[in-house]
Amino acid sequence: MLDYITSYLKSDLTPGAAGNVLWAFVYILLIFLGLSVAVIAMNWLERKILAHMQVRLGPMRVGPHGLLQPVADALKLLIKEDIMPAEADKVVFWMAPLFVVMTAFTVFIVVPFGPTHAVTDMNIGVLFMLGVSSLSVLGIVMAGWASNSHYPLIGALRSSAQMVSYEIAMGLAVISAVLMSSLNQAGTGTLSMIGLVQAQQAQHTWFVFKFFPLGLIAFVIFAIAMVAETNRAPFDLPEAESELTAGFHTEYSGFRWSLFFLAEYSAMIAVSSIAVTLWLGGWMRPFPTWLSGETWDLVFSLFPGLTFIFLAVFAFVGVVRMPKHPYFRIQTMGLAGFGAVLGLIGLVLFAPPVRDRIQDIYWFSVKVAVSMYMYIWYRGTFPRYRFDQLMKVGWKILLPVGIGVLILTAIAGVWL
């Protein structure tokens, strides 16, 4: 039994490839945990960043600088009454949130956080990811149809029309990335997510810079399509609160609604990780060839620790700037404790064995975090599209540009 557990640690495989169910289970639980933490953090960060973009303060009451706000919200949602409309289709209404969460989470099974840090590495990883993420349309249609109400139905129809329209552009962009992966000696590319990052490693470039500007255009198409796929601003028409209340989840309340929330944010993280894997070099650190050598390796390996130390310093600046009033004493102490925990994590990450193991996961997470910040930035900057404009962008601009980029990439790949 012990051998079964430890034998995996010696191998250089993902748990799926090693056929080790126990480690696969551990990885899956870690992904669940990481996703939940990421969604909670994202919830707080989005409110805070958006607030500061609009010259507001955002949540400030629950915990220091509103740090406990997501926790308070989760508790509130848990003890809120869960209303199921009398005319709703009960079974479908019940299943829809589960289905949406399931599809949003299952994508993470192929996301490679490092050469071995993926639950499994299928040889059809990209196809699996595209297929599963497009299944979430089904959950949305289920939710809208089962509610038996006007707003959810219109929201679900809009949502599905939008998602299927942008999926084509997304697929075309993905194909041009797969195409680039086949530019090696054997002439054979790969659809496995780990294989795609290794192809970028072998070609000493991120695919976003390959055949400049073709890779960049494909990446931009994917970046636009992924915002539309996840129904986020400026493409958040299905949830346009001024016309449709809340779109397909209007009739959902309490914990069921929070499942949709969870699914939306994990879908955002999922598509961001796909973009990072396909174009932004996955787990590769910046400048792996230009700034190579022992010294640079050491410098870049200090980044995870430094990030956490920086955040800790940030928290302590907040502690110093906290109003000196007995009323704020607990909040100040809490923030100081938070900063101390962050600093401690940072110190642990400086230790050489931890440092080397955390590298890949760190760079992957940083790239995903940048992409998540872009999501918030779009929301703070762009006004919402009208539906005919949305369809025009999807069908008349992204689709022909996608086909054009694909053909040009293929021509460049054959003759360059």
Partner: protein, 118 residues
């Protein structure tokens, strides 16, 4: 590599257990006192007039049909993309012919106004 696919079922099983359990746990702590008005479809306080599952614009159907055509096309492109360099100029030409047929269809639906949304 069939063992690579085992974690999918593990994953789905885990979610299939975890989420209903949390939903049931939430049922234990939350209040539950529905009333007739509470269970009505939400229409901003106005009584709903007719059935929600009425008619809606035909354009959603058109988008769905077009989606099937173009999405199947992208699936056909995947095998070529994987073997792209090995197939070389010949494979590229074959694919260009395939894409040409598709682009002709695309121009036709554009001319027909299937892509207009007003």
């Amino acid at each position: 590599m069939p063992q690579n696919y085992v974690p999918i079922f593990l994953f789905i099983a885990l979610i299939g257990v975890l989420l209903p359990v949390t939903l049931l746990a939430a049922k234990l702590v939350r209040p539950d006192n529905p009333s007739k008005a509470k269970l009505m479809p939400y229409e901003c306080g106005i009584d709903p007039i007719d059935s929600a599952r009425g008619r809606y614009t035909v354009r959603y159907y058109i988008v769905a049909i077009l989606f099937v055509v173009f999405d199947v096309e992208t699936i056909f492109l995947f095998p070529w993309a994987v073997k792209f360099k090995a197939l070389g100029a010949f494979g590229l030409l074959e694919m260009l012919i395939f894409l040409l047929i598709l682009v002709v269809g695309y121009i036709w639906i554009w001319k027909k106004g299937a892509l207009e949304w007003v």
